[in-house]
Symmetry: C2
Subunit: 310 residues, 2 copies
């Protein structure tokens, strides 16, 4: 364990893989590792990339990786694969495209499966980012399909969140769900040479105008890209870096990360309270009582008071 943490700090690829597997499988020693590497986290800038299926998130991630690599940065990538429990996963096409950059030195790419059919970012993704962060990466890209809970989870660790949309109405309509509207720092209209792109871009800009500007965040930008032609990616990176500089210079990055930290601690504590409370005994009590409560023989308030009093 001591060696593992040390080797992660040295940026050893094999150690990074082992560390992520450790936190991914929630093994007994994972919090031990996380405690050890925690002092060395916080240097990497975390970029979340989300959006509906087929929006071209992987392509854009790939382009960003190459661009960041060309500038000499060290990059870690967590690609959350919503469908497959197998490494490599069902989205093989995407992964193959990504492995093109995966071969580069100083780029670490890892697929993680989500639990539950709706996809979403599992909690451990944040901890996998901690591993990459401690290993000395400058940028961490977290790519995930925006469905269910994931967009909120991604916002809980990303310094900048990019929402990728496409002109196809079915997709973008799906993507416009409030969750995505709330968390985006940058909207990217990908495949922007297709019909309807400009209409969605202007609708987006209109909706954003209705929102009060946040004092704690840079202004939300809407950019156009054509991922497959590598068009607009340079502009996207410029905007990311400009938001990064803004957050750093104003001290807002520190504030933002303190908020993330507070959420993380509340989650850890609440999880601990729930798992401690909902042990076999109390679960059996609820299971046995639910029919009685349903038949109005006990009421939910009395039941809750009694079960928490014990």
């Amino acid at each position: 364990m001591k060696d593992l943490a040390e080797n992660i700090l040295l940026g050893d690829k094999r150690a990074i893989s082992k560390g992520i597997s450790l936190v991914e499988n929630e093994e007994k020693y994972s919090s031990e590792l996380l405690k050890k590497i925690y002092p060395f986290t916080g240097k990497a800038y975390r970029i979340g990339i989300t959006g509906p299926p087929g929006a071209g998130k992987s392509t854009i991630t790939n382009c960003l990786i190459k661009l960041l690599f060309d500038k000499g940065y060290k990059i870690g990538v967590i690609a959350v694969d919503p469908t497959s429990p197998f490494s490599g996963g069902a989205l093989l096409g995407d992964r193959v495209r990504m492995s093109e950059s995966g071969l580069l030195k100083d780029v670490y790419i890892r697929s993680m499966a989500t639990r539950g059919s709706l996809g979403g970012l599992c909690k451990n993704v944040i901890e996998a980012c901690d591993v990459l962060d401690a290993s000395g990466k400058d940028f961490i890209l977290i790519e995930t399909v925006g469905v269910g809970q994931s967009e909120l989870d991604i916002a809980q660790t990303a310094d900048t969140t990019i929402v990728v949309l496409v002109p196809e109405s079915g997709d973008s309509v799906q993507a416009m769900k409030a969750g995505l509207m709330e968390i985006a720092d940058i909207f990217v209209m990908n495949k922007s040479d297709r019909d309807g792109a400009d209409l969605i871009v202007s609708t987006l800009i209109n909706i954003l105008h209705l929102k009060a500007p946040s004092e704690n965040k840079p202004d939300i930008k809407v950019l156009k890209t054509i991922g497959t032609k590598n068009e607009g990616i340079e502009e996207l990176l410029i905007e990311i870096l400009s938001q990064k500089t803004y957050l750093e210079n104003t001290g807002l990055l520190k504030t933002l990360r303190k908020e993330h930290l507070k959420r993380k601690i509340l989650d850890l504590v609440n999880n601990k309270l729930h798992t401690t409370f909902w042990n076999d005994e109390n679960r059996a009590i609820l299971f046995k009582s639910i029919d009685l409560i349903s038949e109005k023989k006990i009421d939910p308030w009395t039941f809750s008071e009694e079960i928490t009093k014990k």
Copy 2:
């Protein structure tokens, strides 16, 4: 208190108002009242009506009230007003229109303000429904703007959830957010004589076809209405009643309500655990420690373990 519960059970309007005010303001005696009336709940059928602002939810609610009233049913209505802390509220136009039916005998209409700018159904709305339920209503309509968390909250108490949409792209795009897709039992395309209505209806039907049918729910229907002309409301009510009969005959209503009950109890217990835990002392500890944790002098895992161990 004893008198209040008794008078609520008798259907006394003044007692109902007082009871709802009690649970709305979370007064000391509210759980005492809720315990008393709980055995008499479960008879009313709860219909949630949600959708984006301006979709015509109030108009449709009004039409449904009249139709149900004509059939001799007793009706309770909770209209969640997202903007105003004043009774009557900022959506005065809507409320005025609703008061037309509010004057009818056996119809009880109540506006409740939400807390927090994002609107959403506050927890106490469910408890206000319990008061109406115990008072002998046959149907309870819960009308709320679908923003933020409200659509999930409404699904947590409604037996049937109606999502109202309109053809205007800005609105319907807003409304299509995943939350609404997940909870709708019936989609209503209101103002269906306007341009684009048919396109959205067919898009919706397409998206619904992609979803696996649920074994625990009737098939999701998409209906068209023109609320201001009272068109399509009869068909809407027929669909509601047909879903009700289906749920009752298959025993699924019981299962659904047991699920709602379980969620309610988990919420009550978790709330109790959190409020008990996050007392002044522990909050002060977190507040004092967050800088130390942020500066990596303590790690979040050790902190959470230590604070929960005490």
